[in-house]
Symmetry: C2
Subunit: 326 residues, 2 copies
């Protein structure tokens, strides 16, 4: 008797590849996508290349998320990286490691999420690889195009304004809510959960921030990403805690962590953190108004040392860091 709920081990790598080829199929004339040793794609004279890996039990957990969420997010985090360089995401390859015990339905949902994100952000999935594993992990590599000069993290200048898009802390608050089974309690908590599970990279905001002197996406928490940007630029900063845009939905987390702390140290918000010449700030603040995510000035670039309300922004627990023994 055929099992009603098949798992990956039953259809094998070939079965899975057929399933993937049917979805992502062939490219346009002159390109080769899924199915050969490598994909062949058109590129401009310069390309952006980035990779992010999500691991089950570390970066996601099926106790609170779906295959769709994993597919969506695995692409979103890379799209955010390309946007933060001032580029345009174009092509992706996906390496998927799976236990044979994974349900085929979970893989289908993963592909659904990947495909939905690819459609939303105009990315073509052009190839990939599959391996067996004990735990699921997904590594997406994204190739992007860039027309203007890239916005590096090393370009901050003394006196530049430090600005951040949207609001912070929501993704970390969402994780808190999901891990405690709070999702569904009310609309605010749903919004937080969505920020964790279905993040929206700030592509359009990045386009309007081409004048930034430096830019990164906030993936490991404001404090850590800000410190890294300043280190790369050889500068310091002074930032006001009360200026940091805290996700308003965090107020719904009664007995939860301090919202401002989540905004400072929680990761995965995929907001853009940038430095702008003071002469460009007003224009940027206006340009990023509705329907975009908005922009908030939170501090200024200094010669040396990162200060939050006059205190050094340093210490062991700046934000999300992989691998540190916990």
């Amino acid at each position: 008797m055929e099992p009603i709920v098949p798992h990956v081990g039953e259809i094998g790598e070939s079965g899975l590849l057929d399933l993937i080829k049917r979805r992502f199929g062939n490219g346009p004339e002159g390109e080769v996508w899924v199915g050969d040793d490598a994909a062949l794609v058109a590129t401009g004279s310069r390309s952006l290349l980035t990779v992010d890996v999500l691991v089950e039990g570390i970066d996601f957990d099926f106790s609170y998320c779906t295959g769709f969420d994993v597919g969506w997010k695995s692409l979103a985090v890379n799209v955010s990286d390309i946007a933060a360089m001032g580029g345009r995401p174009e092509r992706a390859v996906v390496a998927l490691s799976l236990s044979p015990a994974t349900l085929v339905g979970v893989v289908e949902a993963f592909l659904d999420g990947l495909e939905a994100g690819a459609g939303r952000w105009n990315v073509d999935i052009v190839g990939g690889d599959i391996s067996g594993a004990d735990e699921m992990s997904v590594s997406v590599t994204l190739l992007g195009a860039i027309d203007a000069e890239p916005v590096l993290r090393s370009g901050a200048r003394l006196g530049d304004a430090i600005c951040v898009t949207g609001s912070l802390g929501g993704a970390a608050g969402g994780l808190f809510a999901l891990q405690r089974g709070l999702a569904g309690h009310n609309a605010d908590i749903e919004r937080l959960a969505a920020r964790q599970l279905r993040p929206e990279p700030r592509i359009r905001e990045a386009e309007t921030l081409q004048a930034a002197t430096a830019m990164v996406d906030v993936s490991d928490g404001l404090a850590l990403d800000l410190t890294r940007l300043m280190k790369a630029s050889g500068k310091g900063c002074t930032v006001s805690r009360e200026l940091v845009p805290v996700d308003p939905a965090l107020a719904a987390l009664e007995d939860g962590p301090d919202p401002v702390e989540l905004a400072l140290r929680g990761g995965e918000d995929l907001e853009l953190l940038c430095t702008l010449d003071p002469a460009d700030v007003d224009r940027a603040l206006e340009a990023l108004g509705s329907p975009l995510a908005g922009l908030t000035r939170i501090g200024v670039v200094t010669d040396d040392g990162c200060l939050l309300d006059g205190e050094p922004l340093e210490g062991e627990e700046l934000g999300w860091e992989h691998l540190r023994s916990r």
Copy 2:
């Protein structure tokens, strides 16, 4: 007291990133490598893109290999894919998932192996990502250049000669020897182990096979890769078992698996399997002589059905397939 043998959890993601940046550092003028949200690299009008993931316990095991081996091989398998398309490997990004308990020395050895392969095959490591995990896995994405037309797997034509470079079965024989602790017994077994641990992609051979009508690298076993090539080309084949070039070192595996079976079904040899117009075969056979790996004609492309000595080349166990429940 400081531990004498530090593990990754002690230096954390930041410590590891510093260690990686010191090695792979900055690119030439106009490029951005390790350290920003994405790498910026020069590209031609067309690029090749491929990814391969290696997972601890499935694709490698530290009971018989070193970190150096894993670094080398994770790049080699991708270089082989680019070569099999008729391209030139150029830039790589590396996603590394690691347990915090991994020794820093293992990571250093991994980076040594990666760097050695990168040097050998003229690849620049331009970026990457690190995540925590229970098991180690490495996903390398390789961007390649291509000047001429790509050699696809779909181009085989009726009457073409089927040829394969070098010899087959050695990598599978090496795995057999390593898993049984036979490495070091004699020079032949050392050669087999090296084919498993330090494979040599056939870059120069691929350059001389630009006239091939179709080409793939033999990564999952001759039988499976041949069947896939013919399926992609909409053709069949007839192949002679006695023509298949068996790695001569396999004779050293007394009481081991049948060498011809290993040559047919063992994976990871990274030889090139191609189809050639009969008019081009003699030139190719001559061009691939010493110091290259050599080329052997093993059969001919037919209209339909893959036959080995007249018997259908089909069935459950064609070669290495991930995910099939074992």
